[in-house]
Amino acid sequence: MVLEFLSYQFGVRAMIGGLIIAVTCSSLGVFLVLRRLSLIADGLSHVAFGGIALGLFTGIYPLYTAVVGVVLGSLGIHSLGKLRVASDAAIAIMFAAGLAIGIIMISLTHNVAVDVLSFLFGTILGINQTDLYLAAALGVTVIGILLLFWKEWVGITIDAEFARVSGLPVSALELVFTILTGLTVVVAMRLVGVLMVSSLIVIPASAAIQLKMPFRQTVFSACGVAVLSVVAGLQLSFMYDLAPGGSIVLVTICFFILAALAARLLPKIPKKSSDGSWDHQCNR
């Protein structure tokens, strides 16, 4: 039966958590993909892995150490950029550092194999109430800040150089955006795991961009693709006993293929026409 898993408590938690993550990841994803920063989610997810391993080693709740880790990782990427290190190299350095810390911490910790696997591959069907509250708090924070600085993010994404000339505090906003991405990674990795977290950020956004719509509609479409992917992925996972993280990501890829085909095969949608001219008077 369709959405039968919602009759179970764990299914409801999975759906709510999944929808929070879908909206958060996909809306940030459009900005990241357009700024060619798709790999930043990958880099920060491995930094988060280092944080999780540190949490398991020290006995602190792993998502808390992951949050601290990604904030520090975001600052690291931003600082390397200030030192004129190329953005892809800065991300790769943080990626390697996070992974190295994670491996060392795991080697020092006993009996953590199951816990580590749950973070690597995601356990959306096993998320508890604490995870859900944390996901909700981080999701609301990320979306709230995204909306608060909406026009600034749009400006920086369209043309960071012009935004700087206009007087926008581009460097500070970029740092905030990187930290938001890190927090989103922490939220998302509980669902699909560290290894596939960037998929939820990159693929729905890339699918929406294929459709060649104005900016705002592109962000809404990315959210739509991600939400549908979570619902369909959970359904498939429940019906055929598949890994939920992998199912969700494969559904997003199907949406991407459909969007790419639609953009090439369907006739172009006519644009809104001009609603009249304005008689410009120069007041100088």
Partner: protein, 254 residues
């Protein structure tokens, strides 16, 4: 609205002994110049002569290693501000939106010109929307404002970027190689628009130009660079031979 004080010959932008280097490579050496209000100035020079760097210093994107940049807009509300950011409209050479299938319309790009003036946390209001409408009409983009930027012709894209720079009602507009990649008709329309902005709206125009004939035909004053200023004078006194001599002089400096 800003009101230009009387005196059209007033200096609005001054560079004093500006030096700049990318690492160990010197790009600008001891550049000093003044731009007067309502001038149309062409900046020329061979590749790597420091033209774009000079413009980025002028608009505040780069800080000089040595020397000073000062503005005096002679606009009542702007006096005392340095850098006078709202007074400069910038049209970069190759914004990333030109190169990719960006999901952004011409109007969305023009709207971006209001963001700096609106300020953080605030949304566009009716005044800023009117300013966007006016800039779109000025640039002749009414009929394509809801089209995706990537679907526009090179000339329409260029006018969109100019409209974005005009939204803030600038007193100086700085254009980095504005005629690159556009056809002859669009180029003519572009120069007509520039002339209109200068004559009617009294906007000072700074342009980096590669085409030597365009320099003679469309600007009043030429600044020829090769790390330092090797010519600064009226374009009228520069014929084709004079421009080629400048290129040869520049080559010797390299």
């Amino acid at each position: 609205m800003p009101v230009i004080l009387p005196g059209s010959e007033k200096v609005c932008l001054t560079l004093n002994n500006v030096w700049f280097a990318y690492g160990a490579n010197p790009v600008l050496e001891d550049v000093s110049l003044s731009i007067c209000q309502e001038e149309i100035v062409g900046i020329a020079g061979p590749n790597g002569s420091g033209k774009s760097t000079l413009m980025k210093i002028m608009v505040g994107l780069l800080k000089p290693d040595k020397g000073t940049v000062s503005f005096a807009c002679h606009i009542d509300e702007c006096e005392g501000k340095s850098p006078c950011r709202p007074c400069i409209g910038y049209v970069p050479q190759n914004p990333v939106i030109r190169q990719e299938q960006f999901p952004v319309t011409a109007r969305e790009i023009v709207e971006m010109g209001t963001f700096g003036q609106i300020g953080l946390f605030r949304r566009m209001n009716s005044d800023s929307r009117e300013a966007v409408d006016a800039a779109i009409a000025e640039a002749g983009l009414d009929h394509v404002q809801y089209e995706l930027f990537s679907d526009l012709s090179g000339g329409q894209q260029q006018r969109t970027l100019i409209a974005r720079a005009l939204v803030g009602r600038p007193h100086i507009i700085a254009l980095d190689e504005p005629t690159n990649g556009i056809d002859a008709q669009s180029k003519q329309e572009f120069y007509t628009l520039v002339s209109h902005l200068n004559k009617v709206h009294r906007i000072t125009v700074l342009m980096i130009l590669h085409d030597l004939p365009d320099l003679a035909a469309h600007v009043e004053r030429v600044i020829f660079l090769q790390r330092k200023v090797i010519y600064d004078g009226p374009s009228a006194s520069l014929n084709a031979e004079g421009l080629w001599n400048l290129m040869i002089t520049a080559g010797k400096i390299t």
